[in-house]
């Protein structure tokens, strides 16, 4: 029995390349509840996007979901036929992408693209679908919706297109909205508007949001629960307040330190030394130890597991969970 709306269990997505197997997502667990926002945070290449694509089953060759379960309302999405999966996509779970400039088909009007999902999934007539499309555009606060509905993507700005994408994604009232870095390509003022809009819609429609981002500012504003990923694994997870107030994993601490702070006067921002390891050639032991100043001998030999440090705050680090003493301070 699963009480969660969407639950990912031990998800492993591997890519079989010429240079070897890339374990892009390696045993990830998390869940999303109705009306809540889950943020997945991490550097580029840590497997955030692949995780979200895996949930939608959009992984393409040479990638493959090796094992794990993606339970949506208790049913495993990985067991569904292509046909059943198509009925889930866009209808029950939908997705917004990073690049609003290229995510709309240039040859169709905005209206048609919103109407298409409505006609497909909700079996609405053309007339009703158009009415609904205008409503959706108004919902995402596009001015002159009745006019914009007949316009083409090239006539809209990036922020407008992202709103259209959200309108498309929400047209069928999905229960889960996956947003893969929805604000990365937008400028800061538009970012804030889009995030507010998503928060607003979440409350109004009770949608669960799974937000992929590398921007901790976005996390602080949006998230209820945060999952921090590193090299395909979850290194720390917890409620947003707890995690920001009391980060445990050295990687999370590093991420938090590398963001600008109004209260401190610094010339340079802190950064985490080193690079994300080459995914075909991961270090033995904890994947983070080459960049970790607390690294101990144990870290270099064994991989830590997620351990509870608080009722719902988990961390996978020997030092943070108190299994070994680190010599570094």
């Amino acid at each position: 029995m699963s009480k969660h709306l969407l639950e990912v269990k031990d998800l492993r997505t591997y890519f079989y390349t010429d240079k070897g197997v890339v374990k892009a997502v390696d045993g990830v667990n998390f869940h999303v509840d109705e009306g809540k926002t889950l943020c997945i945070v991490g550097e580029s290449g840590c497997g955030k996007s692949i995780t979200s694509m895996s949930v939608m089953r959009l992984i393409q060759e040479p990638g493959k979901i090796e094992s794990g379960q993606i339970l949506y309302q208790g049913n495993d999405l990985l067991d569904l036929s292509d046909e059943e999966m198509r009925n889930i996509r866009g209808n029950e779970i939908s997705m917004i992408f990073q690049e609003p400039m290229t995510s709309l088909n240039p040859v169709f009007t905005i209206g048609y693209q919103i109407m298409e999902t409505l006609m497909l999934h909700q079996k609405l007539s053309k007339k009703d679908a158009k009415k609904k499309a205008i409503e959706m555009l108004q919902l995402v606060q596009i001015p002159r919706a009745e006019k914009i509905v007949d316009e083409y993507p090239h006539q809209l700005s990036g922020g407008m297109r992202q709103r259209v994408m959200i309108a498309m994604a929400l047209a069928c009232m999905p229960k889960v909205l996956i947003a893969d870095e929805p604000t990365t390509a937008l400028d800061v003022t538009i970012q804030a508007q889009i995030l507010n809009l998503m928060n607003d819609l979440k409350q109004r429609l009770n949608t669960a949001i799974m937000l992929i981002t590398h921007d901790l500012g976005v996390v602080a504003e949006m998230a209820d629960y945060v999952v921090v990923m590193y090299a395909g694994k979850v290194v720390e997870e917890g409620p947003v307040k707890e995690l920001f107030a009391n980060p445990k994993h050295p990687y999370t601490i590093g991420l938090l330190n590398s963001k600008p702070n109004l209260k401190e006067d610094k010339d340079r921002l802190d950064s985490i030394p080193g690079m994300v390891p080459n995914p075909t050639d991961l270090p033995k032991g904890c994947y983070f130890w080459p960049r970790c100043k607390y690294a101990t001998d144990l870290c270099k030999q064994r991989q830590p597991e997620l351990k509870k440090v608080d009722s719902n705050h988990q961390v996978s680090c020997f030092v943070a969970s108190g299994e070994v003493e680190s010599s570094a301070k």
């Binding site: 996509r89 995510s103 240039p106 040859v107 999902t117 083409y152």
Partner: protein
């Protein structure tokens, strides 16, 4: 207030309206379009443009030179020649149009599937395409026509000609479409379409093909010109549409007789001129469309 009115006045331009507005600026293309429309109209309204019936044979008026009664004279059976040219235009244009439609349908399906699925499907379909492409057109068309067309009544010859031309001319388009789709399918909007739960068929034919339509239209116009030429050559060789059904191609056939060639030029110049006008006007349209469809081509 003033500004608001201005906003409302700017009409939404669909991509096709933009193509049309660019097409309009090109004089040669518009000239081609006008010539082509005149040819099509004359073919459609042939019965109203001539007082004679297509099959009326007037033995008293055989082999006449152009006169007030018969503007382009009569043929060896006393049929009005202008009438035959007008009706011949019907057949020639019809064969050209349907041959192109057949080749477009095949090209879109084969190119679309090959480009979208890639892998061994692509490999298989493209090898077939290359095989069809590597056949020399005329000898093969002549062979098929001779084998299939044997003993069939004259009217069916027209349809056979359409199919032969259509079935042999799709590879070029299939290749163009495959190439386009190979790059289009990697675009993010296709991922978005998948994420919205669209089926493969819908993605290929509703989302990808419309994106290639610019190329398809250019190809179709140019393809129609070559289909008309192919039909003429086949008919001229007596292997396409055969008399009594007239086409521009088999009307020119009369010029094979050296006597007619030298003494009665009104029998072969007008249909030849029609072929020339049809092909050049379509080519001008195609050229204009190519520039109008491709945004990179303007200065």
């Amino acid at each position: 207030m003033q500004e608001e009115q201005n906003i409302n006045k700017t009409k939404v331009m669909s991509p096709w309206m933009m193509v049309w507005s660019r097409f309009k600026k090109k004089k040669t293309a518009v000239a081609g379009l006008i010539i082509f429309i005149l040819l099509v109209l004359s073919a459609i309204f042939a019965p109203f443009l001539t007082p004679y019936q297509l099959e009326t044979i007037d033995k008293a008026a055989r082999n006449q030179a152009p006169s007030a009664a018969h503007w382009l004279g009569t043929d060896n059976l006393g049929r009005d020649y202008l009438t035959r040219i007008l009706y011949g235009g019907r057949v020639s244009l019809k064969v050209g149009l349907f041959a192109v439609i057949i080749s477009i349908v095949l090209g879109i399906i084969i190119g679309g599937i090959a480009g979208y699925y890639g892998g061994w499907i692509d490999n298989l379909l493209m090898r077939i395409t290359e095989i069809v492409m590597s056949f020399p057109f005329l000898p093969l068309a002549i062979t098929i026509s001779a084998v299939v067309g044997e003993g069939l009544p004259g009217e069916y010859k027209m349809y056979i000609t359409m199919f032969i031309i259509g079935l042999l001319s799709w590879p070029g388009l299939a290749r163009i479409i495959r190439g386009q789709i190979l790059s289009l399918r990697e675009q993010e909007f296709m991922l978005a379409a998948t994420a919205l739960g669209l089926s493969d068929r819908r993605k290929i034919f509703k989302h990808l093909i419309p994106n290639t339509l610019g190329y398809v239209i250019v190809y179709a116009t140019l393809g129609m010109a070559s289909a008309i030429l192919s039909e003429s050559s086949l008919s001229f060789l007596g292997l396409g549409v055969v008399p009594p059904t007239p086409t521009w191609g088999n009307l020119v056939l009369s010029a094979r007789d050296a006597h007619i060639l030298t003494t009665r030029p009104w029998l072969w110049i007008p249909p030849g001129l029609c072929i020339f006008l049809a092909v050049i006007s379509i080519n001008l349209i195609g050229d204009g469309l190519r520039d109008a469809v491709d945004p990179k081509s303007h200065r």
